[in-house]
């Protein structure tokens, strides 16, 4: 009985160890929507493995914050070779851990609305924060941040909490970029329109917006692309604000203590090629980081194109965030 059992165990374990010995493994820490079956992850894995003679393994963590947290906990002994899925809000903290290595890439291929000179982080997609609205509930949405703030109180919006969510923080920075010191007063004026401030984008989108609880939600300018291309509905559209929109950039980086730095650099190179980037528009629902030319899906031509992109450098965000959040809390809990 025990003999048989141990044989069975052995049979189960052997393939695991055997496979590990064959080829080098590139460990990538990422977040769930990237690694999902329908996300870019599987296709990227297949394309990269076809050229690298290695195995690409994802470890899926809840969010950029969790990736960072895991990296800090593991420190020098981390298994990660690449982290993929940090953003401008977590970049500075990640850099300060000393666990992120310089990428030494040329980055000539990048096509972002801003110049990118960061030595540690390589962008792989981007988008604007924007309010998405339900055209069946709201015929004429406000066309500027100012108009939204001054809208009648029966217009309800759903936003996310800057303390727990990336788009939530994005709106905080957006308001700060537009209004500066006046932002807290503007928040107070806006607060009568806020139906809910959810923990995460998913909570707001699934539980509230898709239940029709409010006609507008803080999301991305690219969200309608998914609804138009996959759900085949034009019902949900983003509204372009006159003041301009805040930019979100998602980045990857190589992990300094990694033993696979060459392979990791290959992956970062690969990241800025069409073989990787073509999966971004519809599978990650963001703009690709390079110019895809005709490969960019047609629905992307129907998205809003803000005239002005707001963007604060990560170091500045890191320095101001606590004060901005505190001001926001004071404005809304008074």
């Amino acid at each position: 009985m025990y003999y048989r059992l141990s044989l069975l165990l052995l049979a189960l374990v052997t393939p695991l160890t055997a496979r590990a010995a064959d080829a080098p493994v590139l460990n990538v820490y990422t977040h769930p929507s990237f690694a999902a079956d329908w996300g870019p992850g599987p296709a990227v894995k297949q394309a990269f493995e076809a050229q690298c003679g290695c195995t690409l393994a994802y470890t899926v963590l809840d969010s950029g914050g969790d990736i960072l947290q895991r990296l800090r906990l593991e420190g020098e002994s981390t298994n990660a070779d690449v982290v993929l899925g940090l953003d401008t809000a977590t970049m500075e903290t990640a850099r300060q851990t000393g666990l992120i290595g310089k990428h030494d890439q040329a980055l000539d291929a990048l096509a972002l609305p801003i110049g990118w000179t960061d030595k540690y982080f390589v962008p792989y997609d981007w988008g604007y924060f924007a309010f998405v609205y339900d055209t069946e509930q709201l015929a004429e949405p406000p066309t500027s941040l100012e108009a939204l703030i001054n809208a009648p109180e029966d217009l309800k919006i759903i936003i996310q909490d800057p303390r727990t969510s990336t788009p939530g923080l994005g709106l905080l920075l957006w308001m700060h970029s537009v209004y500066g010191d006046e932002a807290p007063a503007k928040w107070q004026a806006l607060s009568t329109k806020i139906l809910a401030t959810t923990q995460s984008w998913s909570d707001g989108y699934f539980s509230l917006f898709m239940n029709g609880e409010a006609p507008m939600i803080l999301s991305y300018s690219t969200s309608p692309a998914y609804h138009m291309a996959v759900d085949e509905t034009d019902r949900y559209q983003a509204v372009e604000f006159e003041e301009g929109h805040y930019l979100q950039v998602e980045v990857a980086a190589l992990v300094a203590p990694s033993d696979n730095k060459l392979l990791a650099r290959d992956f970062l190179d690969f990241m800025l090629t069409p073989d990787f980037q073509r999966h971004i528009p519809l599978k990650n629902v963001m703009y690709p980081a390079i110019d895809l030319g005709d490969e960019l899906p047609e629905v992307f031509d129907r998205l809003i194109t803000p005239d002005h992109a707001f963007y604060m450098p990560p170091s500045e965000v890191a320095g101001m965030r606590r004060k901005l959040v505190d001001d926001w809390l004071n404005a809304l809990t008074r």
Binding site: A36, L195, T198, Q199, S202, Y205, S207
Partner: protein
């Protein structure tokens, strides 16, 4: 006799004391590690900054206030429901209602909340009715209203279920006398029901208080804004977004002190033993009804059933379209089935582990002598509830340093922690029945030398199978619906059901996510249903209980 005393497997007294002790000790070390590492990483903790911050004072105040209100409302709803269910023991749909009551606690929060919003939200069914009947009403779900409503939805069924078991265990002679005296209303309450409920109320209140105190997503989705913030949110913020470890540690300690203090009070009273007493089937004895009681009771139960079932219907109506897609590549079943397999792989061992852990803990508590020695295993029964999962996870991570490159290892760990998180609930379910195993049969078993494994098999198992099955169902279902632990540790690619749900949510697949939510719900119905069948005593036992109108107490 003594010669073979220790020859039965697992019969040495140490087997009862030591494993539970080790479990409690391990947990305490984990928490200490989690908190300690956070304090060490960034030097000293600044307690003054927390006390002086208007915002954080407000957070603590709000957290306590909403939890107190939630406890009060939960009891207000659960008490009449439990009394009515105890009074009417046979009506069609009663066991269906009990199953329904088990369900609300184990549903993933986001699924349940979306159901609640579908019923009471601005576009909800009930709100639509209100708009028709009461055009000028000022009902809004968002704010304290919504928080309390959701907390009652989650906790009242649990509370009612626990109280019901206490009421059902009222000794039949007492009931008979009360019935013969014609006691009703206040007097029946004073003489029969209150004595049965009083010992369990402190523990029950502490449980519900703790659950509401540490509530997170509900507060943020329904609270309406940052004015509604709990300590748990502040800890998450400090830990995950600001990486302010000292602040997170201070906040976590405040949470531990408040909730832990409450539990300490409860245990000091030594009233906790009957939190979930055994069910003795007392049939045929009924307290006298006051006029109109039948109507009132029917109305009450119908309202409560509606309260529970409406959000579930909302979940179902949202999820059905996706689950009814059987063909084409959009059919969700391939992903659902494989995710279900993985979820079961984690949840079954977690459930079994939680039940074993609970038994070990309870055995250890009953054997332990002295304050400190008792305190260690006792802490297992509430610590996982009041330590923020992020702190627990950090501690575990530092302690074990798992190499999660290896699938099996990572999943074993997730299963282990899920079991740990389910422990408090499982202990609540098992504590009463185990404590009530009567001393007489224990003594007889001692004299006959039925010890160790044999005692378990012959004496405890037949009496414990129903509570064990219920406890196992809770353990499995709680682990099944859990997202936090697996998110904390990272999963190697292939998702479990809750991870699948969150992946779908994160990628705009809202209708698929609704389908997955409904699938999870159905799965939980199956788990509770199946285990309630397994927990039923074998036919000859049932025959006895059914036919005997006044079964004698088991120790008679």
């Amino acid at each position: 006799m003594l010669a073979n005393r220790y020859s039965a497997p697992l019969s040495h007294p140490g087997w009862q004391l030591v494993p539970g002790l080790l479990l409690g000790l391990g947990l305490l070390i984990l928490v200490a590690f989690g908190l300690g590492s956070m304090l060490v990483t960034a030097g000293s903790a600044d307690v003054a900054s927390v006390v002086n911050s208007r915002y954080l004072r407000g957070v603590i105040w709000f957290t306590v206030w909403q939890a107190l209100l939630s406890v009060l409302l939960t009891l207000l709803v659960a008490l009449p429901v439990a009394r009515t269910l105890a009074r009417y023991r046979q009506f069609p749909g009663r066991s269906l209602m009990l199953r329904l009551m088990e369900l609300s606690l184990v549903l993933p929060t986001i699924v349940a909340v979306s159901g609640i919003i579908g019923v009471y939200g601005r576009q909800g069914w009930v709100t639509a009715l209100l708009n028709n009947w009461l055009p000028g009403h000022s009902w809004s779900l968002y704010g304290l209203n919504g928080i309390l409503l959701a907390h009652v939805f989650f906790n009242a069924p649990l509370a009612a279920r626990i109280m019901l078991q206490a009421l059902e265990s009222v000794p039949s002679p007492r009931l008979r006398i009360a019935s013969q005296l014609g006691l009703r209303g206040w007097w029946a309450w004073r003489s029969v029901e209150w004595p049965a409920l009083r010992p369990l109320l402190p523990g029950l209140c502490a449980l519900v208080f703790t659950l509401c105190f540490t509530s997170f997503a509900i507060i943020m989705t329904l609270g309406g804004g940052p004015a509604a913030t709990t300590l748990e949110v502040a800890i998450y913020q400090a830990l995950r977004f600001e990486f302010d470890f000292p602040q997170a540690a201070v906040l976590a300690v405040i949470q531990l002190v408040i909730c832990g203090g409450l539990w300490w009070l409860v245990f000091r009273q030594r009233l906790e033993y009957s939190l979930m007493p055994n069910r003795h089937f007392v049939q045929g004895v009924q307290l006298k009804a006051w006029p109109g009681q039948l109507w009132f009771s029917t109305l009450l139960l119908a309202a409560f059933a509606l309260f529970l079932v409406l959000p579930i219907l909302a979940i179902a109506s949202r999820g059905l379209p996706s689950l009814l897609t059987f063909t084409g590549h959009s059919s969700p079943y391939e992903q659902l089935l494989s995710a279900t397999g993985r979820s079961l792989l984690i949840a079954l061992p977690a459930g079994l582990g939680a039940v074993s852990g609970a038994l070990l803990t309870l055995a250890s508590v009953s054997k332990a002598r002295g304050r400190l020695l008792t305190a260690i295993p006792t802490s297992t029964s509430y610590l996982p509830l009041i330590v923020p999962p992020l702190v627990l996870g950090t501690g575990l991570f530092l302690l074990l340093r798992p190499g999660l490159g290896n699938n099996a290892q990572g999943w074993t760990l997730v299963s282990l922690i899920n079991g740990l998180m389910a422990l408090p609930f499982v202990i609540q379910v098992l504590r009463g029945p185990l404590a009530r195993l009567d001393t007489h049969s224990r003594r007889v078993a001692d004299q006959l030398g039925v010890i160790g494994w044999y005692r378990w098999h012959r004496v405890y198992w037949p009496l414990m199978r129903r509570p064990l099955a219920l406890a196992l169902a809770y353990g499995i279902a709680l682990s099944m619906g859990d997202f936090g632990v697996i998110a904390l540790f990272g999963s190697p690619g292939q998702p479990t059901l809750p991870v699948l749900l969150y992946q779908q949510l994160g990628s705009y697949r809202m209708s698929d996510a609704a389908g997955t939510g409904l699938w999870l719900l159905l799965l939980m119905v199956v788990i509770f249903g199946l285990l309630s069948v397994i927990g039923r005593p074998p036919a000859h036992h049932r025959y006895k209980t059914v036919r005997q109108p006044f079964p004698e107490p088991e120790h008679a």
